[in-house]
Amino acid sequence: MKNNKHILYKIIVVVVLVAICFIMIYIGRGHTLYFDNKGMEVNGTYYNPPYRVKVLIKGKEVANLKDGDRGMGIWIGPKAHLELEVTKERGVAKENIKYDLPLPRKYDGVVINLVGLLNVANYDEYISEFIPLATVTNSEDEEVVIDDLGELGFGE
């Protein structure tokens, strides 16, 4: 009886830990967000980019974009809470707009076209995956440095 109780406790602990793992994987998924302030066509109409867009994440300005600019920020979690400070034309009062934007889990880097976002385009039209350009790498393999008895790594 006591033994069964012990096994049950162990199973509960394992289940709780596995559940925490899944929660952490869900809420901790990190994304690099790239904000494009570039004109785009939405439902057959071409929209020009606003004069200036400031992107704020958690109250901090991460990008200040003019026509054609790209900015970058990071977000941890499945849904990005963005605040945009939009100045449509020079001299015109700025407008604050908040968005809760679901992010595709499979993308590490997410490109968000702000013009599409502001003009209510389809999700797939203004969200795309950021694919880094292939860089020329040295064909030689990286030499692996293994420290068995060598230098001291005293937490410098």
Binding site: L17, G28, H31, D108, E142, L152, G155
Partner: protein
Amino acid sequence: MKFNLKKFLADNSVPIMFIIICIICIPLSGFSTSYLLNEIVTRIVRNAFLILSLLIPIMAGMGLNFGMTLGAMAGEIALIFTSDWQIWGIPGVVLAMILSIPISILLGTLCGNLLNKSRGREMITSYIISFFINGIYQLVVLYMMGPIIPIIHQSIKLPRGYGIRNTVSLLNLRQSIDNLISINILGVKVPVVSFLIIIALCLFIVWFTKTKLGQDMRAVGQNMEVARAAGINVERTRVLSIIMSTVLAGFGMILYLQNMGNIATYSSHSQIGMFCIAALLVGGATVDKASIGNVFLGVILFHLMFIVAPKAGTVITGDSMIGEYFRVFISYGVITLALVMYEAKKHKKKKMAEGDDNEKQ
């Protein structure tokens, strides 16, 4: 009771020696008080958890657990997965800690059972086990990660397509716990949450010593035969102490690496046991007796010496390398000195006990 200065000096020779070294080196180094305090706080946060993980095996009479390196490796493997799955910030740290638990338990069980078979030679055995497991770690990380264990991101894989790079960036985890809540006291940045975690572990250790298992460990540490006669499962208790130490070392390594911001895949763990043990001994601990106070005194003195010695060496000799050699020499020297003193004391006690027996006869 009369205060015996000679006994006090003999019992605390290592910390006193380090205090003297620090007193000499601090003015020579020319570092400001706020700089030194900032550095000390950072190093307490970085290392205290790891060093605290050594206390439980000492309590169980297993000596200084050089096998804590196994826990460090488990922590690193967990962080490699977290990094590959792109889990950032505090969720990444929590996930890595949970992932490290089964690996640590597995390695701790292996280590504990081997140590049971080499009773009386636990320290040297655990030291060699750490080298043995390091070989397996290298096999897993260098050859199995990629083709057998799925690793998605090219950025952490070696250019050849399998194996992990020499350095894995933890930029998106870096100091996520330290920066969660931090306060500034007179120019010294104090990471509150990190300190709370360390305090929680201290409280856990204090509580644990009062539990049935904790008392069993103490009994086993004092005398195995008496403990066995009292009905304690000595072997199981010893294995459990190593498992607990390994799991805590895994957590400690994750906290250490999140503070550093990157993993040196093949070397981060290699000397971690050595410097944690050195710090504990500098704090006045011995092979069979250590306390939470020894941990904190050790971290402060050992790392203070580490910070000031190179600069002091440069001022005295004009060559910074002398300071570097000095601190390495001191670190290993203090372990040697502490072990020799422990053996000498043990020998003296044994002789005295034999003398008493002869007198009785």
